[in-house]
Amino acid sequence: MAERIYVFKRFERFWHWSQAGLIMFLMLTAFDIHGTYTIFGFEKAVAYHTTAAWTLIGLWVFAIFWHFTTGEWKQYIPTTEKVVAMMKYYLVGIFKNAPHPFRLTTLRKHNPLQRLAYLAILVCVGPLIWVTGVLYLFYDQWAAWGLGSLSLEWVANGHIAGAFMMLAFLIAHVYLTTAGHTPLAHIKAMITGWEEVD
């Protein structure tokens, strides 16, 4: 009989979905700005992208505060335990209906691969995008900030590289939500907060 545990608290779910919406909107406007397609056009896309970025920064201020006051930040501490088992599961076990090697609890709600992936996003892709993005926004202040020798081309390309990585992550992330014990189990959990575990 399946047991239900409460893994995603109210703020966490709000944070996740508003962040998801913002990131997808940032993606949409990003590639509009980049000239991949035209939906809003460069001018409007830049304005929307900027507003969405500031909104996301605002959201993060709350999220970071929340993570530290609740201790939830510990969920992102990487571990090597069961990493190989997880990889084996995704590469082989999942096709054989093998049992999931990770049993989630409220204290360990991310599997070891998730921990690694989210940490990589948090410490590599995220900072790359935020640092280059903020520099991009404040291009005219570089000289005043003592960054006069910075190259706009490198900043821009860093930002674009970050966008591609984020898009690849988004695809994999959305796909892996279907890897629960039913295809919609993870998504349900992210909406209701309750995950069913075997």
């Binding site: 830049v46 995704y90 209906n97 190259s151 821009a156 674009i160 591609f164 690849a168 695809i171």
Partner: protein
Amino acid sequence: MGHLFNRAALALCCAGWLVATGPVLAEEAKPEPKPLKLTTTADHAKFKELQKTFNSGPEVTKACLACHTEAAGQIHRTKHWKWEYLNPDTKQTLGKKTVVNNFCISVASNEAACNSCHIGYGWKDASFDFKSEENVDCLACHDTTGNYKKPSGLAGNVVTKDMEFPPGSGKILKAIDLSKIAQKVGKSSRDTCGACHFFGGGGDGVKHGDLDSSMSAPEKELDVHMDATGLDFTCGTCHKTSSHDVAGSRYSPTAKDSKGAHLRGKTDNGNPATCVACHNNAPHKSVARLNQHAGKIACQTCHIPSFARGGIPTKMTWDWSTAGQLDAAGKQITKKDAKGRIIYESRKGDFTLGENVKPEYVWFNGNVTYTLITDKIEKSDQRVPINKIGGSPSDGKSMIWPMKVFRGSQPYDPVNKTLVTPHTAGNDDTGYWKNLNWDKAIAVGMNTSGHPFSGKIDFIKTEMSWPINHMVAPKEKALGCAECHSKDSRLAGIQGVYIPVRDNNKLLDTIGWAVVFLTLLGVIGHGAMRIVTARRH
């Protein structure tokens, strides 16, 4: 030249009439002239000195100078009078008297025609007395009637009795009433400046591209500042004149004005005709990012989206090398395009015209170096620059500027390797426009300008750049971001700056999309396998 000037004058008169009567007609339906706008404390019609018949321009000037005793002396110090300018940076002696261009080429030996646009009377050759006070032409700039005309061919003189000109042509030049004109003098206007500056290069709009008779009474769309029913700027509003010396120079332009808006009393105010002189260096109120653009991009680049927007085409190319063709009867010919505009004349060669022309963009630091008649030139694939525009992305003094680049082919001396100054205008045996003989025309012209001529003639390709400054559109019509931030960017030729979108890195895009598609492919494959294996179990 003569008929062009007359046509121009006619256009100006018409425009003036429309302005004067338009609003009155609408309100009262009574064709009464609008009362003269009193911008002065003196009604010149009340001056006894002007209530007489004047038989020549200098007679009027003498009357003016009786009160305005120092005016002629002020005029004598200006470029408008001397047609001479020493560029302080390049040390080149320039000015209309000296430079060679690729339109009608040069003034020397053609003074009688060209100098109808000199602010003086009687400059027909090198003997003109530049110290003469009475030969200063006050009316050229101070006429308010629109009736003042200086027909081409008369060395800047006016017609006070009907005369046949050229003699034997059967064409009659009508006399003008100098007394009426003198009694109505006032401040300079778009029409007075325009009488010459709209018609430079031999006709309406020919030369500048951003100045033509449509600027006489422009709508807001055409020029937000000169908008005749709006701000109604005259040329002098920006080209703030002091002691008759008009500010602003095409020989040493201000490419980057970093001094900010002009404060009265400040001693180092500099050129008052720049955009910054009024608008300051950070004029964009709501979008700070635009102010940051203004650090590298001249205001004109975005705010003048195209030139020749007023319905009058500007000349874009002029090929003198094809001049001289005659019809079967041995007569000069004229060819017109579908719109009835002249695109070939036997005496001038082939032209192309342009309307709503997108400018070309270059880094410009204000340094302009002319190719003068004394400079050696080489025929090659590269066009000889009539005026070389200085600038680079890294000199700290350059901005990205819009230019009209006028390209042509013109006669030169292949032995001495110099440009030449042909004698074109004139009712004589050597003027090219009458006789179509380059040998005679160039020999006489070079003799007059005082430069050696080998007798050999060839044609050389040249180009001349005209910084675009006028026809400033309302802000809603300024260039949108995507005009430059796109793959077919207006700034395609601008080096030395990274322009997002224009300069997208192809390799990064390829790698980026490869990563994205491989991820997609991976999850699709993984998902498909899960579906297949789930069915098996």
